[in-house]
Each structure stands twice: as C-alpha cells, then as structure tokens.
C-alpha cells in the first residue's frame, strides 16, 4: 500500500485537534542504525506536531542527504527529500511561494554546515519562514565516518587518520553571525527539552535555527555523554530560560556571570553572589550576549548552554510583498495580459 494514502481525522472535517503522534508516523520502515539519535528526534517531532493545530497536509519536511535525509520519508506529512545541502534552498522556494504551509528543513552537520553552508546562512539572513533543524553528531554517518565541519581538532577518522587539522564550526555562532532571528540548541536524549525548543521555534515568525546534539552510536558514540548521562548532565547542562538568572548544577550551585571585560565566566553562586548572575534575555536586539553564550563552552565535555539563545522579531522575507503578489495574481486575467503584451511602442499593419 502506498504509505501516502492513509486518511485520517483531518480529512473528514472533524478538525485537526484530534491528531496524535501516531498520525504523523508514515508507513515506511525506519532504517537508521539501532541507537541512532535520529529516532529520538523523530519521536519528539512526531509528538510535538499535533500542537501546531494544523492539518498534517499543511506541514512539509524538506531534507538533504545524509542519515537525517531519510527523515522526510518517515513523517506522515508532505515530504521532499532533496539533494545534498540544498534543503534550505528548496524550503525557501516552497515557503516563500506557499506561506500557508509550515515548512521544516532538516539535515545533519555535514549537509547543513558543509556542502549546504551557503544556503543555510542565506536562509537565516533573509529570515525565510522555515524551521531549520541541524542534527549535529560531529561526524559523517551515511558515508561511513569521515570528519565533519563540527568534528573537533585532532579527530581521528578514516579521512583524517592523523587527526583533523580543521577548526570546527560553532554552529550557533555561525547562525548568529548570519543574522538569525531565532537560535536554539537542544539534546536528542532529553525529549521534553527538544519539544520545548521545537515549540519555541514553531512560534517564531521567521527563520528558526535549532541545533540538536545527537548521538551517532557507530562513528562517534557518546560524543555528548557528559550532557546526557544521568550522573553528569546536571553538572553540564546550562539551561537557558528567558528572564531568569543563568544557573545550573544539581543544587543550582553554579551560574554564568559577566566579567568586567564583558566576557562570560562560569562562577560558583556562593562566591559570586546571586546578583552577579547574568539574567538571560533572548529578546535582546543586540546579539553579542547570545554570541558570548554560544562560545561559553569550547567542547562538549564542558558545561554547555542549551535552550533558546536568541528570539527576536524582524521582517520576515516575503511578508511585505505577499499580499500585493497574491492580489496581483488573483486579479490578473486576459485583459491585464493583453495590456502587458501591448506595452511599449506598438504599430498596426492593416490588411
């Protein structure tokens, strides 16, 4: 049976509120490796989507190439599996021409940050109304284990047997540098946090950039263990919450404060005092604080901020011209076309 053929509640006019996670599960068999972080992300996305209150047919997932590319096939929505790195560009064409849709572009760190890096930064600077999910496992999976643009210096892989000589990207800093209006990070193994971030991204009116740390059990297993292991995660996850002082640790005994030179430091609350803690402001127009937070940890074994770094409103691409274009297209008919063709200097030859 064609997996696209399944009907569901939204079709009979009974409204979309009845959609459940199961409605978003397509019939295609998922073929990621056992233990792959993609499963967790897929489950979180499917669990979250009913919240949108949209018929599933108004939702589109656009993917590129890589393990994450198959995501589109597993979602019972409209799906477009494109070519390597181009998901943001495909999604741009779709989103600007169909503003009635909820468009999600999804790819791995190689897809989005290496071969597709140009499309990513331009989608962000244009503030295209798409939600971009970058599944960052710091390695190439589908091509079987080469270094990626987020792999750490010195990383030994099949393509870098003597260790990578390339400085990795800081994806959030890159997105902020590109002028992204929404930048967030979450971790695959914390489903509630993933859903919280997805919700914030979906509520954001422009381009939303979400980095999802996720585990590749085959080529880079437990890269984020410090952030996800029960024993260590409290000490490593710095959860950003808008309007609240930035604190973390099992006893919330540590925090983030600003040094006199403006840079950020991790401090003991007992030493620095509660008043010294930085209050997170995701809506700040100036991106410098978000940028500093993005650079707080240099490697994932250090305490690492997760959550919404930045969410500011600025004009969404196409919004200012949308009504004019739609009205123009509605209005144009044979008469207008005739006038267009007869534009400029014309002359008539009599029979």
């Amino acid at each position: 049976m064609a997996d696209g053929a399944r009907y569901h509640a939204s079709e009979n006019g009974s409204g979309v509120a009845t959609l459940t996670k199961q409605d978003f599960v397509s019939g295609q068999e998922t073929r990621w490796c056992p233990g792959c972080g993609d499963y967790a992300v897929l489950a979180a996305v499917q669990e979250f989507l009913p919240e949108l209150g949209l018929p599933l047919e108004r939702i589109v997932f656009v993917t590129g190439i890589g393990c994450a590319g198959r995501f589109a096939y597993y979602m019972n929505t409209y799906g477009l599996h494109g070519i390597h790195g181009r998901a943001p560009a495909l999604a741009t064409g779709l989103a600007v021409s169909r503003p009635d849709l909820s468009v999600w572009a999804l790819g791995g760190d190689g897809d989005m940050l290496s071969i597709g890096g140009n499309h990513l930064i331009h989608a962000l600077r244009r503030n295209i109304p798409i939600k971009i999910l970058v599944l960052n496992n710091q390695v190439y999976g589908l091509t079987k284990g080469q270094t990626s643009p987020t792999s750490e210096l010195g990383k030994v892989t099949k393509s870098t047997p003597f260790g990578s000589e390339d400085q990795p990207f800081n994806p959030l800093a890159l997105a902020l540098g590109a002028g992204a209006s929404f930048v967030a990070r979450t971790v695959d193994r914390d489903r509630h946090h993933v859903i919280e971030v997805l919700r914030a991204a979906s509520e954001h009116p422009g381009a939303a950039f979400v980095e999802i740390y996720h585990n590749c059990p085959i080529f880079n297993d437990e890269a984020y263990a410090a952030l996800t292991d029960k024993d260590t995660k409290d000490a490593h996850q710095i959860r950003l919450e808008h309007g609240l002082p930035i604190r973390f640790g099992a006893e919330r005994e540590r925090g983030v404060a600003r040094r006199p030179d403006g840079s950020l430091a991790i401090v003991e609350v007992a030493d620095a005092g509660e008043d010294a803690l930085l209050v997170h402001d995701a809506h700040r127009a100036d991106p410098s604080m978000a940028f500093a937070l993005a650079h707080l940890s240099q490697r994932v074994s250090e305490p690492t901020p997760i959550g919404v770094f930045r969410a500011v409103e600025r004009p969404v691409h196409g919004e200012s011209s949308r009504e004019e274009l739609e009205a123009a297209h509605e209005a144009i008919g044979p008469g207008e076309l005739e006038a267009l063709l007869h534009g400029g200097a014309t002359w008539t030859v009599e029979s």
Partner: protein
C-alpha cells in the same frame, strides 16, 4: 539639393564610446523604423568591461540595425552605413563594412589624442586609407554644443553629451524616419528635467536640420514599408519576449510565477525584466548562488507554482544536480539557458550555441528531459510558453535554450491574441487515484504522474531523489523496478514527440541539399538559403525548435535529401546527434568566433555544395 535613392534594405551600425549613448540612439532609431513599417532586426555589441577607458578600442559600444521593405531574418552581415563617434569606433568597425559603404564620423573627436588612443598613427580621414568608402565628416560635438548653448541651465558639457541625439537626427533625416516617435520619446524620458529635455530635443532637431540644409550630405535613402502580416506589432528582444512568454504561461495556467536566478551575463537581464513585474504577480528571488536558484524554483514547483530559473553556460554546470533531482521528482520546472561562448568563463558577452549536448546529456545517470531552443528574438515568447506547457503537462523539467545573440537582438513581433495562446492546465491531483488510495507515481496516458500539492487533504506523500517504486513512489532498490522506472522516464519524454509539431521543411523542387539548424541559426540559414534561391540554386531548409524529443518525422525528412548540412555555432553538436540517431551522413558547418552565423557564410557554404 540632395537626391533620393530607393533601397530595399539597409544595414546601419552606430558606434561610439560606451559612454556616448549608442545603444540609446540605436534603440530610438529602431522604434522609429518599426513605427514607419519596415521589417527590421537589431543587434547590440557592448564592451566586456563595465567602464573601459574612454576612447579606447575596448570601450567601443555599437548597435546594428538591418531594416527593409521586405521581411528580413538577421541584423545583417556587413553594414552599408557606419556612424563612428570617435576614432576607436571607426577602427574597430571599418573592417566589417561593405566596399562603397557610407561612413559618417564625428569630426570633432578625431583629435591627436583620440587617434593615438585608438592606435592610429595618422588620421585615417586624411591619409586616403578610407578611399573605398564615402566619408562624411560632421563636427557633431561642436554643432550639438552650439545648438544647446543658449538653453539656460545647460552647460557645454551637458550639451556635448547630447551628441548621440544629433547623430540620431542626421540618420533620421537620411532615412526619412518619422521624427514624432523620437520627439515623444525624448519628452517622456526627460519629462521632469526641463533644461535637459530641451537640450536633447534641440540636439535631435539640429542633426535632422543639418541633413536637410547642409550640402555636405547629398543623398537621402528611401526604404519603403514592408508588407508584413496584418496585426499589431511591437519590437522585442529575446529577453523581453522570454519574460512575456513566462508571464503569459503563468496567467493562462493560473500558476503563480516564481523566478529565481543568480546574476550572470547575459541571463541577468531576464531577472531584471521579471523583477519589475510584481504588479502582475511575479515573484523573483536573487538567490545566493546558481544551485540555490534552481532549488528555489523546484521548491516552488513542489508547492504548486510555476518554478523557473535562468542562467548562462557556467550556471548550467552548477544547476545540473538539481535538474537531475527534478527529473527524478517528476515536477514541472523550466530552466532557461542563455548560452554564451565557453568553456569556463569563456567570453561572457559573446554568443555561441554550444550547450546543446550539455542540455541533453549533462547530468549523471539516465536523466532525459525535453529541450527546446528559441529561433529568433520574438520566437522566445512561443518557446517560453511551449517550455511551460511541456513541463506542466509531462511533470518534467524543461531546458529552454536561448543565447546571447537572441537575448539582445530585437525584431518586430506580431502580438498574438490571448485566446490563441496554448491552454496550460496544471491538473492538480484532488483525491485518491487507485481504489481509494493515492499513488504519487501512478501515471496517466502521457506517462505523467499526478501533481499533488501540499495542503491537499488526504494526499500527503513523500518524494525524493532516491529511486522510487513504480506507482507508490516509495524508496526502492529493486533491480527490475529500477529498469522499469528508467524506461518509464525515458518513454515519457520520448512520447512528447506525438505532442509537438512535425519538422517543417522549406522545400524547393529539385533541391537535393537540406540545411538543418537549431536555435539562433534560423535567421542566417533562412536568409542564406533565400539568397541562393535568388541566384537560381535549389536548396531546402529546416529548423528544429524541439531538440528533445526530436519531431517524429525528423529521420524521414533528413533521409529524403541526398545531402544534409548542419550549421551551428559549436563544433558540430547537432550534426553528431543526427548522425547518431538517424545514421545520416550529415555535413557540418561550424563557427566558433563568439559571433552569430552570417547569411553570407551560409550562402557560400550552400553554393559550394550545389
């Protein structure tokens, strides 16, 4: 008193420094000529540099117009008249003139300094080197300054800048062009710039009156209006015609047009043209690169819009992977390739039609798609509509080949009636197509698959570049399925041959030689064949508008002539195809100079073979 001489046709070339306004003067002369009722064809030639040093050979900008009292097909091989605004313009064009041609120079510009800049050791106006031509020395700069010096607010520098309109005035007198057309244009163009408006009008009138009163110019020419088919005409270049065709297709299909492209010479003009049409519902995006532009168009197509991207040679290389994806997705999309001389960056402003094999085969794997080539500037309109029709009807990317010559050249276009335009019906899928299920790759009688756009309830489906199972579109690595899908995709494109016009032959009884062409060679081949016939030679000509699939009767036509000559501006790409497809021993005439074929060259090649 001047005498008046009747002429059937005239080729004029106006050349000057790129800052001299030659394209403007040429454009105005063209409008007046069109309104007068001559048939015409034009071709501009720009310097490659944005601002080449003034007065140098590199900085010469020229405009050529061929007009006649009968229908004509090319902008002309060799000018009969050259207007040269400076020594560089003379030097870079004099070799193209026919013997006995008329040369009108701006005498003021032939200073020692300008002669040196153009590389002249001696003044050619005085050393006898132009003795085979009829040379008129007109002090255009000083006469323009004089005509405008009494206008308040106009400096002598401003006045001198209007010398292109003085030259236009002279030409308008020589060829009896209606002055009102130009006057009205000047009044519109400079409506809010009082003194400049007055100065330009004064310069134009001064030039015209100079012709009328000066004894210097002793001859006027009369080129009677041509007997064109009845109807309303306008003059269009290939760029405008392509833009109008795409908009017309958008209107008749009801599909909003999304045009995404990346700036590249000479295709950028199409982006500029369409970007102005927001009030007609046209959305344009200047993408971050060629690849993005193609993907944006394809993304829009997935969403149910008319996705179009345009580029020139190098951009096609970059778009190839996306075009392959469109082949696999089987979504409508149009890719316009305004060809230019290659390889690599090549000669960006120079025409060459050498992307045919790339259009046909330039993708990995088996990825057939329809290819259409425009034949003349005005034909770009029909070609664009045809590209959209095939794309939508067959759910396939279509490559539309144009070139730098067609994009910039112009000719009169008989404006079609709206009701005669082809109907294009998107036929969006509305519901299940097999036993209550929706199969995204279940094909219709054309082998086209359903176009089910997001938002359509019950038809959610997923498609991608991975091989798909026949019918369901689910991912499939099944060997037999891959063979079947490969053959279905090819068969769908081949089947288009049933849906396109047969190859028409301009046959002459007794002809044993057929000249076959494609793209912008239409004009020179047809004109060359006509000249041969005027000399009593027997020759047939045929032109391919569809390059894939070829019209169903192509083989039959080619085999019915003893000899076949294929003329093209590449090393013989179409001739390779017809040899391979039809086992016809086609001969090849090729030219790779970054210039269009000339009618005279075709005439010569044909005569050699008769």
């Amino acid at each position: 008193m001047s005498r008046t001489v009747d002429k059937d046709r005239v080729v004029i070339r106006i050349a000057g420094d790129s800052g001299d306004g030659m394209q403007l003067a040429g454009g105005r002369f063209t409008d007046a000529t069109a309104v007068f009722g001559n048939d015409l064809a034009t071709a501009p030639s720009y310097p490659a540099e944005v601002r080449a040093p003034a007065g140098t050979l590199r900085g010469v900008s020229a405009f050529q117009i061929h007009f006649a009292s009968r229908d004509i097909l090319t902008p002309g091989d060799r000018p009969n008249v050259l207007v040269a605004m400076n020594p560089a313009a003379l030097k870079s064009n004099v070799d193209t003139l026919e013997s006995g041609a008329t040369i009108v120079v701006n005498d003021d510009a032939f200073s020692k300094r300008n002669l040196a800049k153009a590389g002249y050791d001696a003044n050619p106006l005085e050393d006898g080197s132009l003795s085979e031509f009829r040379v008129y020395r007109v002090p255009m700069t000083s006469m323009t300054v004089k005509a405008t010096e009494s206008i308040e607010g106009v400096s002598s520098r401003d006045g001198a800048r209007a010398k292109n309109l003085f030259a236009l005035g002279v030409l308008s007198w020589m060829y009896g062009r209606p002055v009102e057309v130009t006057e009205e244009w000047i009044e519109r163009k400079f409506a809010n710039r009082g003194a400049i408006l007055t100065a330009n009008l004064a310069a134009f009138h001064a030039g015209y009156n100079f012709g009328e009163t000066a004894d210097l110019l002793d001859v006027r020419y009369r080129v009677k209006p041509a007997a064109l088919r009845p109807g309303t005409y306008r003059n269009v270049d290939g760029t405008t015609a392509t833009a109008l065709g795409l908009i017309a297709a958008s209107v008749t299909s009801g599909l909003p047009l999304l045009f995404a492209s990346y700036p590249i010479t000479p295709a950028s003009e199409l982006l500029h043209e369409l970007a102005r049409q927001r009030s007609l519902g046209v959305r344009t995006i200047q993408a971050e690169d060629e690849i993005a532009a193609a993907n944006m168009a394809l993304g829009a197509a997935f969403g149910g819009q008319l996705g179009v991207t345009a580029t020139s040679g190098p951009g096609m290389d970059l778009k190839a992977e996306t075009i392959g994806l469109a082949v696999a997705l089987e979504l409508p999309m149009v890719i316009v390739d305004v060809q230019r001389a290659g390889p690599s960056t090549g000669m960006p402003t120079k025409p060459e039609s050498a992307d045919l094999l790339m259009a046909l085969y330039g993708r990995h794997g088996e990825s057939p798609l329809p290819v259409i080539a425009a034949a003349t500037p005005a034909h770009c309109f029909d070609a664009a509509l045809e590209a959209v029709r095939l794309a939508v009807d067959y759910r396939t990317p279509v490559i539309l080949l144009s070139d730098a010559f067609l994009a910039n050249s112009s000719e009169p276009w008989l404006i079609p009636n709206i009701e005669d335009l082809p109907r294009i019906d998107p036929r969006f899928a509305q519901g299940p197509n097999l036993d209550g299920e929706f199969l995204p790759y279940l094909r219709d009688e054309r082998l086209a698959r359903p176009w089910a756009i997001p938002g359509t309830i019950g038809l959610a489906h997923r498609i991608g570049g991975l091989e798909k199972e026949d019918g369901t579109g689910n991912i499939s690595y099944d060997p037999e399925n891959h063979a079947r899908m490969t053959s279905l995709r090819a068969e769908k494109v081949r089947g288009i041959a049933r849906d396109i016009a047969p190859l028409e032959v301009d046959h002459e009884d007794g002809a044993e030689l057929l000249v076959l062409g494609w793209g912008s060679s239409y004009g020179p081949i047809t004109a060359g064949a006509r000249r041969v016939r005027e000399r009593g030679g027997k020759v047939a000509a045929a032109h391919l508008f569809h390059l894939n699939p070829l019209p169903a009767n192509t083989g039959e036509v080619l085999r019915s002539y003893r000899r076949v000559l294929v003329a093209e501006t590449n090393t013989g790409q179409l001739s390779q195809i017809v040899r391979a497809e039809f086992l016809v021993d086609a001969e090849s005439f090729t030219k790779l100079e970054g210039k269009p074929l000339l009618a005279a060259e075709l005439e010569r090649e044909i005569l050699e073979r008769l």
